[in-house]
Symmetry: C3
Subunit: 232 residues, 3 copies
């Protein structure tokens, strides 16, 4: 367990190490991407908390729940202990950092909405790949891999929306859960046809990000439910 908050020196050494890892092995790349996805979701949580005028601690709490909710649910369901952010203190460091920077930065500058939407789409894609990878490493079958991709990518946002009293994300029609589940299936398919972790991960992240952005731009959606409307 890292002694967070007291040993900043060590933590920053870890951050440097991660930056370096981006040019390294597939596992390290996924770790770096996972941290990036964590930062993105922490920011989205902090902004949602901000819209409800929470205080600085409430903002950090919602940022943390948004960023780790999906992976924590996945780890509890798969009985993977210690849960990832208990095992590796760096997650909490980047979450608190991202939440505080968002909190203070947005006192002066309103971030462009489009930047957040791009980042959120990217975070969704990254977390879907991370969830699929973890389930594969755990020995899960195809259905479990796809589900864990979906759970890792969406549960944090669901809890954020419930706590912030916003319309839950999953109610919005522009291909959200779909993109995450589809990302899990795509990653699995690409690996099973022989692509390495690297290739499968990058292709999936690009595909899910683009799908989500396209869905937002043209308000694409799947056929939706119309109870008892035979004219449809």
């Amino acid at each position: 367990m890292t002694d967070l908050f007291w040993l900043h020196g060590e933590s920053w050494a870890q951050v440097a190490q991660v930056a370096e890892a981006v040019t390294a092995s597939p596992g390290d790349v996924l770790y770096a991407l996972d941290l990036f996805g964590t930062i993105v979701f922490a920011i989205s949580g902090a902004l949602a908390a901000g819209r409800r005028h929470m205080d600085v601690f409430g903002v950090v709490v919602i940022a943390a729940v948004t960023a780790v909710g999906g992976g924590t649910t996945r780890d509890l369901l798969l009985d993977r202990h210690p849960v990832f952010w208990i095992d590796d203190g760096l997650y909490l460091v980047v979450i608190v950092g991202a939440a505080l920077v968002t909190f203070f930065y947005t006192r002066y500058v309103r971030p462009p909405d489009s930047a957040l939407l791009y980042a959120d789409a990217f975070g969704l894609a990254v977390f879907a790949v991370v969830g699929a990878r973890v389930a594969l490493d755990h020995g899960g079958g195809p259905a479990i891999v796809v589900l864990m991709a979906g759970i890792t990518a969406t549960v944090g946002g669901m809890i954020r929306d419930v706590l912030c009293d916003e319309t839950p994300l999953i109610l919005r029609r522009e291909i959200y859960a779909t993109a995450a589940l589809g990302g899990g299936a795509l990653y699995l398919g690409l690996q099973s046809v022989g692509l390495g972790t690297w290739g499968a991960a990058s292709a999936t992240i690009v595909a899910v990000t683009l799908l989500r952005l396209a869905a937002l731009k043209w308000t694409l959606h799947l056929p939706s439910f119309r109870i008892g409307d035979p004219s449809n």
Copy 2:
């Protein structure tokens, strides 16, 4: 782990096997009933998602959460791993099937509300018995058995209501959590006076279903809370 989605043949063989099991041993009967309860709750989840005009994937997600939420919470609390639907892929197969059939069927035909209410009452009763059985097999004392009956039968519906932004079920007054907890106590009592699994399960399922239907028909409810209303 069943290779869902790729090995339909095997899955359907399993379905046939379950149908056969209805005439077999008590354990198999409970398993068949559990799958039936799962289908019923998946349909109720799909219909709730439909009322919010979710897309087809959102419908499947809410159906799954409704159907497995209670049993999953029970398994996590009792530290039973793998969680039942990770262990046995058939649950996910019937959930996805039930959600899709509901989705497409209701594009043409509006199901009669009464049919759903009957089925939902039956699902509640079945899940209460399944939860009590699992807790007993796990070595839980009476209070834990009753609680796990209640948790198994109601948590999925609670999560469904929160995600679909509907008034949580537990707020409705017509004897819902009560029927589930009472079912757990009845099952326990019948077993402790010597009835076998078969007898105790059937009697409990009939009793809880009838209680719930009676409560709906005559809007029965227990004494409810009136803060500071001494005239009551």
Copy 3:
């Protein structure tokens, strides 16, 4: 496992034992305080359920969820099994008792709001200390200790608010999550500078209770989020 509900004699013997423990060792004192915090949160859950006119079973359910939600989440995250209230039946006894007494008492007498606010502040403080202690005993680092203090003290209330369709507690600005997290940090700090369990626990409980009451009295709050409001 205690045979709850059937062996009242034993249970009451346990209650007497706890009362006695208040004059005993630090561990026993924390246990007694934990039970007291449990009662306080059960009452707060019962009152919230009462405001939504739930029936008597619904009231017990919400009381239980409020009282054990935080500690259960903590135990699941730390993989501590059996979960505390499954391990020790006395928690359920005091919860059901507190909920029923609240239910019947408030039919005749409206409790003064101020009494509840005092008790709730005290419950928050006690649960923060209990959460910190459990995390320390589990070998958690400082960040985990502080987080578990916050989770133990606030998650039950969050679930209560979501199920009762009230504005989630964490949205309210008067220093709530902050007080719990701060309590965890204070307890940790006091122990690390050499205070025993006794001293650190009492000082933390007093400090958190006073902070929370002061925040309520003068509607204190931390700087809050104002997106894009540069005049702030």
